[in-house]
C-alpha cells in the first residue's frame, strides 16, 4: 500500500474516500479543530492581515531573488563546514542521499518530518538497500507502521482515529493498548528512544534556511527533530530550493505566522536552529552535515507570472484545513505527496506527466477559502483556473465537454442565439418539468438529481417580462432624492477623473 496506482483516476479515488466513514469523520474532526484554533490565534493577534501581508512580501522578495539568496546560504553553510549538494530531480536527490548512507555504511536512519523525503520516496529506496528508515514524528511513525503515505502536510495521520492507532500499536507491541493518547504517545516514545540511540544517520527536513548566516531552522512539537540533529554522528537535511528567507529578522515573521496558521499555536514547541556541523566547543551535534537542495520542477515556476507565487508556500497546511473539498475526501484522493488546495496546484506543476496529473486541478469548487487561509496570501484559487486552462489548451479535456463549451459560446455570444437557446430549453423541458422542478435523472441532470431537485426554466424569462414590468415601474416611479443623485454623480465624476489621470 501507499504507492500510487496510475490506473485509478481522480473520480474513483474521491469515491473511495467518500465511502470511508472513518476517514471522513477523522478528517472533519481534526481540520475543524485546527481551523478554529487558527481563527482564534489570528483574532488574538489583532492585526493578522498586516502579518499576512508582511509574510507575503518577504516570500515575494525572496523568490524574486532566489538565485542570490540561495547562493548566499550555500556559501555561508559551506564556510561553517557543511556539505551542500544540489539535486535537479528526485532521482538525483535519492542517489546523493543513498551515496552518503552507503559511505557511512548506515544500517539505520532516524528521520524527522520532511515532505521532500515523501516527494523522493526515499524510504522505499533505503529499504531496497537494506537500510532501516525510522520515522520519528508521531504522525509519520503511525503512517510508516501502517504502510501508508501522509494525507496531510502537517498532520500526516489525520485520516486515522485513536482506536485505529491503538490497534496498530497493539499489533507492533504485542500487547493490547488502550485508545488513550498519553499511553499511545508513551509507547511510541519508548520504541523510538532506542532507535535514536542506535541510528547511524539523522535525517531532517527544513522549515526555513537563513541566507545571511547559512543556518536552517526546524519547527517541531515533539522534540524529535532535535534528537535527529543532535544524536547521530551524521546528518542529512533535505530541503526544497525555495525554503530560503534572507535574514533572522524575517524568521521572526515566519515564526509568528506559521504555527498560528498551522495549528493556532503562538509558537512552535521546539524551534531548532542549526548553524553547521558540531564545532570543537559544542556538546553535541553531527560530525558531518549534508544538505541536499532539491529542485524537482520548482525552478520551472520561476519567471512564470501565473505560478511563481506557489514557491512562496511555507507548508503550514492552513489551506487544507480550510478547504471544504479536503474536509470530505482527505489527502490520499489527491493522489500524490501534497494534498488539499496547495496539492491540487503543486501536483500538476511538479510532475511531468500531465495526462496523469493534470486533472487534479479539478478537485476544487474555487470557493477561495484556501486563499483566505493562506498566511502568505498565495492565490491558489486563481492558479487552479490557470491549470485548468492549460488542460484545455493541451486538449486534455473530454470531447463532450469541449462540444458543450463550443455550444455555450455560440449561445452566449449573440442575443439572438441566446434567446433561441432559451426558447428551445423551455420547449424541450416540457415533458420533464412539474411545478417548476425537474426530478428526472436524465442527461447532465443525472448526477445532480440523485441528491437534489433541479429547477425548471421559468415559463417566462425575465427578459420576456421586462417590457411589462418596466411600464409598471415607470408609472410608479418616485423622485430620486437629491442627496442620492449627488452621490451617484460624484461617483461618476470620480471615475472620469481617474480616467483622465
Amino acid at each position: 500500500m501507499g504507492g500510487f496506482n496510475p490506473a485509478v483516476k481522480l473520480e474513483e479515488r474521491i469515491r473511495q474516500a467518500l465511502n470511508d466513514e472513518f476517514l471522513r469523520n477523522a478528517v472533519k474532526f481534526t481540520t475543524g479543530r485546527l481551523r478554529s484554533s487558527k481563527q482564534q490565534a489570528a483574532e488574538q493577534m489583532g492585526n493578522w492581515e498586516e502579518w499576512r501581508e508582511r509574510g507575503r512580501q518577504i516570500r515575494l522578495h525572496t523568490i524574486a531573488h532566489l538565485d542570490y539568496y540561495l547562493n548566499q546560504f550555500v556559501q555561508n553553510l559551506r564556510e561553517a563546514g557543511g556539505y551542500v549538494h544540489f539535486a535537479s530531480t528526485a532521482q538525483e536527490a535519492v542517489e546523493i542521499a543513498m551515496q552518503i548512507m552507503e559511505e557511512k555504511q548506515a544500517k539505520s536512519v532516524v528521520k524527522s518530518k520532511s515532505m521532500v523525503s515523501e516527494e523522493l520516496h526515499l524510504n522505499d529506496a533505503m529499504a531496497a538497500k537494506g537500510i532501516e528508515p525510522v520515522e520519528t514524528d508521531l504522525g509519520e511513525y503511525i503512517i510508516q507502521l501502517a504502510g501508508e503515505t501522509p494525507s496531510h502536510i502537517l498532520a500526516p495521520a489525520i485520516h486515522k482515529n485513536r482506536q485505529q492507532i491503538a490497534d496498530l500499536f497493539s499489533e507492533i507491541g504485542g500487547e493490547k493498548l488502550p485508545a488513550d493518547t498519553a499511553v499511545l504517545a508513551g509507547f511510541a516514545r519508548s520504541q523510538l528512544r532506542e532507535k535514536f540511540l542506535q541510528a547511524d544517520i539523522g535525517m531532517t527536513g527544513c522549515n526555513f534556511a537563513i541566507a545571511e548566516s547559512g543556518s536552517f531552522v526546524l519547527f517541531s512539537n515533539e522534540g524529535n527533530a532535535r534528537m535527529c540533529s543532535t544524536v547521530p554522528r551524521t546528518q542529512i537535511t533535505l530541503m526544497g530550493m525555495e525554503r530560503i528567507i534572507p535574514s533572522w529578522e524575517d524568521l521572526e515573521v515566519m515564526a509568528a505566522i506559521l504555527p498560528r496558521a498551522a495549528t493556532g499555536q503562538k509558537l512552535t514547541v521546539y524551534m531548532s536552529a542549526i548553524n553547521g556541523p558540531k564545532r570543537a566547543a559544542d556538546g553535541d551535534g553531527p560530525d558531518e552535515l549534508h544538505v541536499i537542495i532539491l529542485d524537482n520542477g520548482r525552478s520551472q515556476q520561476l519567471g512564470d507570472p501565473e505560478f511563481q507565487e506557489v514557491l512562496n508556500c511555507i507548508r503550514c497546511g492552513a489551506c487544507l484545513n480550510a478547504c471544504p473539498v479536503y474536509r470530505h475526501i482527505g489527502g490520499h484522493a489527491y493522489g500524490w505527496v501534497y494534498s488539499g488546495p496547495i496539492g491540487a496546484v503543486l501536483t500538476p506543476l511538479l510532475n511531468e506527466d500531465q495526462d496523469q496529473w493534470g486533472e487534479v486541478a479539478n478537485a476544487s469548487s474555487l470557493c477561495g477559502a484556501c486563499y483566505e487561509a493562506c498566511p502568505v496570501k498565495i492565490p491558489l484559487h486563481d492558479m487552479l483556473v490557470y491549470l485548468r486552462r492549460r488542460n484545455v489548451e493541451a486538449g486534455r479535456t473530454d470531447a463532450t465537454e469541449r462540444l458543450g463549451m463550443k455550444t455555450y459560446k455560440v449561445a452566449v455570444s449573440s442575443q439572438r442565439f441566446y434567446q433561441l437557446a432559451l426558447k428551445l430549453g423551455q420547449f424541450g423541458q416540457k415533458p420533464l418539468a412539474r411545478n417548476g422542478e425537474i426530478t428526472a435523472k436524465v442527461g447532465p441532470l443525472e448526477a445532480w438529481n440523485r441528491l437534489r431537485v433541479a429547477p425548471a426554466l421559468a415559463k417566462k424569462s425575465f427578459r420576456d417580462s421586462w417590457k411589462e414590468l418596466d411600464m409598471e415601474l415607470q408609472h410608479e416611479l418616485v423622485e430620486l432624492k437629491p442627496e442620492t443623485k449627488a452621490r451617484m454623480e460624484a461617483i461618476l465624476r470620480k471615475r472620469g477623473n481617474s480616467h483622465e489621470n
Binding site: L10, E11, I14, R15, P324, V325, R327, H328, I329, N362, A363, S364, S365, L366, C367, G368, A369, Y371, E372, V385, R388, R389, N391, V392, M405, Y408, K409, A411, V412, S413, S414, Q415, L422, G425, A447, W448, L451, R452, V453, P455, A456, L457, A458, S461, F462, R463, S465, W466, L469, L473, Q474, L477, L480, E483, T484, K485, R487, M488, I491, L492
Partner: protein
C-alpha cells in the same frame, strides 16, 4: 444617468422573480432602470473550467451590452466577482479588451453593494417576522468582499430573527461545472450544508447568489423539508410589501 439591470443568465432563465424583486426595490428609491437585452452570461462556467476563449465570447457580449451604462447592478456576487476579479486576467494579452473590461468592472455592483454603499440604504422598511439563516456565498464574500452589507440589511428588517448558520463560510459545493464534473464530492458538500441549515431551525434560508441557493435549495427540497429558500432581494421586497400592508 443610466442604471442598468444585469439579470444574470441564471435569474433571467430560471429565477426571473429575483431580478424582478431587485428592480421593484430599486425603483422605490427613484432609480430609473433599464435592461439592455443584448446581455447574456458573464462567462464564468467556461472560465472556471479553463475554456477562456469561450469565456471571452460571453465577456465581450456583456461588455458591449453595458457600454452605455453608468451603473450595472446584478443579484449575484459571483457574476460581479467574475467581472471584477477575472476579466482582467481574461484580457491580459488584449489591451483594448482590458480597458473595456476594467471600465465595466468599475461600474458593476452586486445588489447589496449598490443598495448599501451607493444608495446609502440600510433599512428598506421591511417587515418579515420569520426565523432566517444566511449563507454567505463564497465569491461575493471572498472575491468581492461583500460581507457586512447583507447583514446590515437583514439586521434592519423588523421582526426578522437572524439565526447563525454553523460553518457558514464553507462552500455549498456548487462551484458551477464542479457540481457536474465532481458530482459526488459536490453532493457530500451540499448534504452537509443542508444539514447545517436544518440544524438552525430557520424557516427561511437567504443568500445573494442563485447558483448556491439552487444547489442548497435543491438538496433541501429533495429531503422534503419545508424551508423556504430566497434571494435577499426577494426577502426585502416581500418584507416591504408586508410593511406597506400589501400582503
Amino acid at each position: 444617468m443610466k442604471v442598468s439591470l444585469f439579470a444574470t443568465c441564471l435569474s433571467d432563465a430560471f429565477y426571473p422573480r429575483v431580478t424582478e424583486a431587485m428592480a421593484r426595490l430599486l425603483a422605490r428609491y427613484g432609480i430609473r432602470l433599464d435592461f439592455p437585452s443584448a446581455q447574456t452570461c458573464c462567462g464564468q462556467p467556461a472560465f472556471n473550467s479553463g475554456y477562456w476563449d469561450e469565456a471571452k465570447g460571453a465577456a465581450l457580449q456583456l461588455i458591449d451590452a453595458f457600454a452605455d451604462s453608468d451603473f450595472v447592478i446584478a443579484p449575484s456576487g459571483s457574476c460581479i466577482g467574475m467581472i471584477h476579479h477575472h476579466y482582467p486576467s481574461l484580457f491580459k494579452d488584449d489591451p483594448a479588451g482590458l480597458a473595456k473590461a476594467r471600465a465595466l468592472a468599475e461600474k458593476s455592483y452586486e445588489f447589496t453593494q449598490f443598495l448599501v454603499n451607493v444608495l446609502d440604504v440600510k433599512d428598506v422598511g421591511a417587515k418579515f417576522p420569520h426565523r432566517v439563516t444566511y449563507h454567505p456565498s463564497c465569491h461575493g464574500a471572498r472575491l468581492l468582499g461583500v460581507k457586512d452589507e447583507p447583514l446590515e440589511l437583514l439586521q434592519h428588517v423588523h421582526g426578522l430573527e437572524l439565526l447563525p448558520l454553523p460553518f457558514a463560510e464553507d462552500c455549498c459545493g456548487f462551484g458551477g461545472t464542479f457540481s457536474i464534473k465532481l458530482s459526488e464530492v459536490s453532493a457530500a458538500m451540499v448534504t452537509e450544508k443542508a444539514e447545517h441549515v436544518i440544524d438552525t431551525q430557520a424557516e427561511v434560508l437567504v443568500g445573494l447568489d442563485m447558483g448556491c441557493l439552487m444547489n442548497i435549495g435543491g438538496r433541501l427540497r429533495h429531503q422534503g423539508t419545508s424551508i423556504r429558500v430566497m434571494h435577499l432581494a426577494e426577502l426585502l421586497y416581500e418584507g416591504v410589501c408586508r410593511a406597506d400592508g400589501r400582503i
